[in-house]
Symmetry: C2
Subunit: 83 residues, 2 copies
């Protein structure tokens, strides 16, 4: 078994409202910053044992499907590299 590092990036699907990001954008504007858009993204950095890079990617995709992302609201990407 090797150890792999994986990153799961979870974003709201386009069209889903993100009031937290909207609030952060307005707070920055109140501080005098000018910005066209702000989007917040959740990332999970994992370390896990697996037989191969493809086995690690499969496991992490299953973690995303079952717990880390909500497929109704979120899109997600998985990247894996050997440590």
């Amino acid at each position: 078994m090797n150890t792999y590092s994986a990153t799961v990036t979870v974003r709201l699907k386009s069209g889903v409202l993100d009031p937290e990001a909207e609030t952060t954008k307005r707070a920055l504007e109140r501080l005098g910053f000018e910005l066209d858009a702000l989007r917040s993204v959740d990332q999970f950095e994992l370390e896990l044992p697996a037989e191969s890079e493809s086995a690690a990617a499969e496991t992490v995709t299953e973690m995303a499907e079952r717990l880390l992302a909500n497929p109704t609201l979120h899109d997600y990407d998985v990247t894996v590299e050997r440590r």
Copy 2:
């Protein structure tokens, strides 16, 4: 003025407890997944007007210092690219 895309990645400093990540890790373990570590990271994806890439990076670093990150708890990275 050009438009730039910037990403601010905010991580808890090492040694700062992250009970949310600990709970997520335990929930994955209860689902039968084996993992050595899980860290959660916040990312902000911004679009902003600026005179140059370095001016955009300076503005976004100031946003991170003033609002997006708490320097007592967090480390952050800023990346900028022209759209």
